[in-house]
């Protein structure tokens, strides 16, 4: 492609640190664009990215602002390749990212067959832009018997509360003012799922009724985190705890023992420990 530099955006910082590792390996300079609110709360991932030699570009805001800014820097520098971090923005990014992430679904199939002798009855994942969940279900899109549920943050639930619109190079559900002039949306504890819109593939799958979408609140995510930590010994990132909340508090309640629910546990928990400590530290310890 003749590109000499890399640019990416990130919400949770996970994509930034992963891209930074690739940039280090291939000896290419990388700029990672992140919102200042996220930079504060996912510091661990940023430290890692910096150790790999990447440069951080801070913009006021969260993932939404980081994407708009990354698009601007990219269009200003034709020598940069944009490594888009979610299944969002204009073609071919949603397709590329969903395809790259589809390794998750392939592994789900393989491991589930190996360990349980059948594929899961249900796959659940959190959705911000929707890349990890797209990857988890990609492999199973032709299998209607596998129920699929994507879970957004309640504060930015574009698929539950949004309307169709066109912004950031994609036509998809989004939270915006009625006249389309302004993007909207609040703040979730999960940096990676604080996003006013969602990848267009998920809007299509919602309209086709092939996948269900719901949302979880901050409190539900924290409660799910506690339970997963104490019963599984897993320090999960907060984002997939939106999916865990949907399973624990809603889906799993009426399911038989042999019903297999697979939760895509994306990201890593260390980055959120400060946030978690701040919110439930005292009662939890």
């Amino acid at each position: 492609m003749g590109k000499t530099h890399l640019i990416c955006e990130s919400g949770a910082g996970q994509h930034f640190s992963a891209t930074a590792a690739v940039a280090a390996k291939f000896n290419m300079p990388l700029i990672g664009v992140m919102g200042d609110i996220d930079i504060k709360r996912v510091n661990q991932n940023i430290i890692k990215a910096k150790h790999y030699g990447a440069k951080l570009e801070a913009v006021p805001g969260t993932l939404k602002e980081a994407i708009t800014s990354a698009i601007k820097i990219w269009s200003s520098n034709p020598e940069y390749a944009y490594i888009c971090g979610s299944a969002v923005s204009s073609a071919p990014f949603p397709k590329l990212v969903a395809f790259a992430q589809s390794i998750i679904g392939k592994e789900i199939r393989e491991q589930s067959m190996e360990q349980e002798g059948k594929i899961p009855d249900m796959i659940v994942g959190c959705v911000g832009g929707g890349s990890n969940f797209a990857g988890a279900i990609y492999e199973f899109l032709d299998e209607p018997n596998v129920k699929k549920i994507g879970v957004e943050a309640a504060e930015t639930a574009a698929l539950t509360n949004g309307t169709p619109g066109i912004m950031q190079g994609m036509k998809t559900y989004m939270l915006q003012t009625e006249d389309g002039a302004k993007s909207l949306g609040g703040m979730s504890l999960g940096a990676g799922i604080t996003y006013f819109s969602v990848g267009p593939m998920h809007s299509y799958l919602k309209d086709q009724k092939a996948v269900s979408y719901s949302s979880a609140t901050d409190q539900e995510m924290l409660d799910a985190y506690k339970m997963i930590a104490q019963t599984e010994g897993i320090c999960s990132a907060l984002e997939p705890m939106a999916g865990a909340a949907e399973i624990i508090f809603r889906q799993a309640k009426d399911k038989p023992k042999d019903y297999i629910i697979c939760l895509s546990l994306c990201g890593r928990g260390e980055k959120d420990l400060d946030t978690i400590q701040e919110h439930i530290g005292k009662d939890f310890e």
């Binding site: 939404k64 269009s75 034709p78 619109g165 066109i166 036509k171 006249d179 002039a181 302004k182």
Partner: protein, 271 residues
């Protein structure tokens, strides 16, 4: 072959004077609807040939910091596309010769929706629309272009330095009014245009079409405008320089008059 759709734009480019047309971008309703109209009237009185009236979007992906700040100001004051169309009507009532292009992003038009938008701007007296983030592969671009062309209005298309010849051919085939030649890779109001690059780019476009070419991005001073006018383009587009002047002098009571003087400094170089 040049498609002639907007008669007013056609008349402007067929007129021998001024030699190079000044196309000026203003953020509609900035800083207020009333002052915005006064600023634009002064621009018209000082020789602007075509006005680009920007309507605002929060995720405007081609705007540098100057125009972004103006967009945010207008959005936080609650002015929307309806107010901008009202402004267009007021401008048209004031002057019947100046070209008026509505410029912005597809987000607002999609929600308006597109068919009503074209009807409303035609009544208001606009000549054309420029949508920064609507390439011709987009269904909504096709709908907009069709509706505009049916009504004798133009969809202004952009060509960037990164647009290769194959794509350029597709673009000039559907272009009308004029072609917006983007001088630099990037957002508004940051980089400066390079005379040689611009001249070569104008030649590259001229090989394919006779449509009027207006050269924009990176033209910050009357001297820049004069240099770019030598590139063979038919018009030069100045945006961020005017918006910045308005920002810097927002408290000044004589702002409309002093902006008029600034516009005159540009048009004097383009006669």
């Amino acid at each position: 072959l040049v498609k002639i759709l907007s008669e007013r734009l056609d008349k402007i480019f067929k007129s021998p004077t001024p030699k190079t047309k000044l196309v000026s971008y203003f953020v509609g309703c900035y800083p207020t609807p009333e002052i915005s109209l006064e600023l634009i009237k002064e621009a018209i009185d000082n020789g602007v040939s075509i006005l680009e009236i920007g309507y605002c979007t929060s995720e405007a992906s081609a705007e540098g910091p100057i125009i972004k700040a103006a967009h945010d100001h207008v959005l936080s004051n609650g002015h929307n596309l309806n107010d901008i169309i009202k402004l267009v009507k007021d401008i048209r009532d004031y002057n019947q010769e100046v070209g008026i292009v509505l410029m912005g992003y597809i987000a607002n038009l999609y929600k308006y929706p597109i068919s009503n938008f074209v009807d409303d701007i035609k009544v208001a007296g606009a000549d054309a629309v420029l949508v920064v983030d609507a390439p011709h592969e987009l269904k909504e671009e096709n709908q907009l272009r069709e509706a505009l062309n049916k009504n004798g209005l133009s969809l202004i298309k952009l060509a960037a330095p990164t647009t290769d010849d194959n794509r350029l051919k597709d673009i000039v085939n559907i272009a009308s009014g004029f072609l917006y030649q983007v001088n630099v890779s990037g957002v508004t109001g940051v980089k400066s245009a390079n005379e040689t690059d611009v001249t070569n780019f104008v030649k590259r476009i001229r090989n394919l079409t006779q449509i009027p070419i207006c050269s924009g991005f990176g033209i910050k001073s009357p001297e820049d405008a004069k240099k770019m006018a030598n590139s063979g383009c038919n018009g030069v587009i100045v945006g961020s320089a005017f918006v910045k002047y308005i920002q810097d002098n927002i408290e000044n009571k004589d702002l409309p008059q002093s902006l008029g003087n600034l516009v005159k400094n540009f048009t004097e170089e383009l006669k």
